[in-house]
Amino acid sequence: MIMQQQKTSMLEIRDLHANVEDREILKGVNLVVNAGEVHSIMGPNGSGKSTLAQVLAGRDTYQVTRGEIIYRGRNLLDMSPEERACEGVFLAFQYPVEIPGVSTQYFLRAALNAVRWHRDEEELDAIDFLKFLKQRMQIVEMDEGLLTRAVNEGFSGGEKKRNEVLQMAVLEPKLAIMDETDSGLDIDALRIVADGVNQLRSDERAFIVITHYQRLLDYIVPDFVHVLVDGRIVKSGDKTLAHELEERGYSWIEQQTVTEQPVAS
């Protein structure tokens, strides 16, 4: 990766601290993501990976106590969750939510039109939308039958995750955050999901791929790998760092950070 190349800054997280119910989870996260880059965030369970994803999306169960997040030149923390979404922040949920009685197709159209309305673009009518949707569905090899079913209701784990990627493909975000999209997927589903993401990679779009395992990164090859431990990014590197982690385990990093910590702070 050529680090020196001039790039547009997409996201800058500076000294981010966040609590849930008075317990500090994020303890000073710093991260810069430029357009066109794929960043992977790895870390042991409970290190704060999902919290970071939820804070970026604007979930109000997490309180930011310190630090700032600049997204495309604006203060992200000032924006409501729906405004963030309309401005191009997308979160692929670890546990996609079921909405009974609301068809997937209807939901997707409502979402797309909300985003288009925000951008002063004309809403798509049902027919144009369906055309667009069918073309996008090829990206995740999704069965058309799912469109008329209620959002995520009775979907298999793989279908839910594919549905997340489909939504990403429809909404065409600028910054896509994938929260453990690989969890609960068999190898075929993993490949389809990863292929979908790879098709969506572009110079204008950035990805933050959160995962516990290196496996996903064989398919979605990151430009950068960051290791989050106890609410801080303690090590950053290129994709080889993921392999090293896979071999040596998180305890290797944890031991390292204990010794490095005083120096860092």
Binding site: S80, A85, F93, V97, E98, I99, G101, F107, A114
Partner: protein
């Protein structure tokens, strides 16, 4: 935006139909006695047999106690303070729409029910009931060409006494329950429908009930008869002004379906629900029952209940004819201090009778929502089938949902299915929608509409749109 703040704002939403029409009324003095009943009967120029029937009901009512078994709570009603007859004063009985007081026409325009037929784009015939009288019925002549009778009840008494006498009280006897007995004594107007043999009514028929005068009770009666092979879709809408005192609405609806006949009865009930603290609002005590008298007959009730301080109604089906079918689809929404105790009774008497019950209760604010239903399979009802689905949705944590399903089976060939769920609109669902760019208010609408979908799709097209809009209005202002 969190669920709790969304829900808190619910109670502050505006009631859109709360205006009062300033029109001179010809009203009876408040109070109930035999003289009042004679006065109502005389105003309507009724035959002696009907007055005798009213008086019989009244004398029976005096022996009854107001029922207390339902899951609703309200202070005692003073029946002597209610005005039992109130009619807008008009110089003479209008012969056509041109002769109707413009204020009345304006009222219905405001409510979105333009009575002038030429303005109507849609094929719906309307009977407009204002307090105690019907003020206009549209498309009457056109329907008459097919032999369809669609007119105010009091007119039917004059013009079709044999039909009225034959069927009045044949489904809901005057002694059925406290409120029915009261209604039988003092009922004023309502709609009468007769569809002759083999006729498919070409347009939806509807009645729009409006309570306007203060302290007035509305006691209407609707009677619909579908003769052999006849089919009709009937719609009913209701609104009232915002007033601080509670007003009583005690209606009776009787449906009769003969061999191979079908009646689809849809209601959008949006009586004034009272304010956020529970002051004012309509007490809605209604008895609705359909008799599937003929073989292969079909009666379907669909209701969207969003108004009234108290709702107490159980649209029911007596499945007498072999192979007859009864259906009940309901959405009941309670918010603020509203209370609803609603459901159905499906009484299987004939062979191969089938019934379907789909009930969706939505509670918000301090609303209390009760589903109460009875499915009864009589001894002779071989191969009866029932499917019941009862879902409750809670918005917020101060409201309540209650379910009382009663099942009595006396024939072991019966097949019964019962499903029930209770869910809460979750922060998770709202956040998921928000993360896709959808505003909280729109997300709540989407989730609630999704929850009600199985019922909405039973409504006639235009009514379904109105029902959705009504829920959306109820949800309006939910994002602060």
């Amino acid at each position: 935006m969190t669920v709790s703040s969304t829900i808190d704002d619910w109670t502050n939403q505006e009631y859109r139909h709360g205006f009062v029409t300033d029109i001179e009324a010809d009203s009876a003095p408040p109070g109930l006695n035999e003289d009042i009943i004679r006065l109502i009967s005389a105003k309507k120029g009724e035959p002696d047999w009907l007055l005798a029937w009213r008086l019989k009901a009244y004398r029976h009512w005096l022996t009854l106690e107001e029922p207390a078994w339902s899951n609703v709570d309200y202070p005692p009603i003073d029946y002597q303070k209610i005005v039992y007859y109130s009619a807008p004063k008009q110089a003479k009985q209008p012969g056509s729409l041109d002769e109707i007081d413009p204020k009345l026409l304006e009222t219905y325009e405001k409510l979105g029910i333009p009575l002038a037929e030429q303005k109507r784009l849609t094929g719906v015939a309307v009977d407009a009931v204002f307090d105690s009288v019907s003020v206009a019925t549209t498309f009457k002549d056109k329907l008459a060409e097919l032999g369809i009778i669609f007119c105010p009840f009091s007119e039917a008494v004059q013009d079709h006494p044999d039909l009225v006498r034959k069927y009045l009280g044949s489904v809901v006897p005057y002694s059925d329950n406290y409120f029915v007995t009261l209604n039988s004594a003092v009922f004023t107007d309502g709609s009468f429908v007769y569809i002759p043999k083999g006729v498919q009514c070409p347009m939806d028929l509807s009645t729009y009930f409006r309570i306007n005068a203060a302290s007035t009770g509305q006691f209407e009666r609707t009677l619909i008869i579908a003769d052999e092979g006849a089919h009709v879709s009937y719609l009913e809408g209701c609104t009232a002004p915002m007033r601080d005192e509670n007003q009583l609405h005690a209606a009776v609806v009787e449906l009769v379906a003969l061999d191979d006949a079908g009646i689809k009865y849809s209601t959008i009930q949006n009586w004034y629900p009272g304010d956020a603290d529970g002051k004012g609002g309509i007490y809605n005590f209604v008895t609705k029952r359909g008799k599937c008298l003929g073989r292969n007959s079909h009666i379907s009730w669909t209701q969207v209940e969003t108004g009234s301080a108290i709702t107490w109604k159980y649209p029911s089906c007596l499945l007498i004819g072999d192979n007859s079918v009864g259906e009940f689809y309901s959405v009941a929404l309670t918010k603020g201090r509203q209370q609803a105790d609603t459901g159905t009774k499906m009484i299987h008497i004939g062979r191969n009778t089938r019934s379907t019950i789909v009930s969706k209760g939505i509670s918000a604010g301090y609303g209390q929502n009760t589903y109460r239903g009875l499915v009864k399979i009589n001894k002779g009802a071989a191969n009866a089938r029932n499917y019941t689905q009862c879902d409750s949705m809670l918005l917020g944590d101060k409201c309540g949902a209650h379910t009382f399903p009663y099942i009595e089976v006396q024939n072991n060939t019966a097949k019964m299915e019962h499903e029930a769920t209770t869910s809460k609109i979750g922060e998770d669902q709202l956040f998921y929608c928000n993360q896709r760019g959808i505003k909280t208010e729109d997300a709540v609408n989407m989730i609630v509409n999704g929850f009600c979908k199985e019922v909405f799709r039973e409504l006639p097209m235009e009514f379904a749109v109105e029902a959705q809009k009504l829920l959306e209005v109820s949800l309006e202002g939910s994002v602060g």
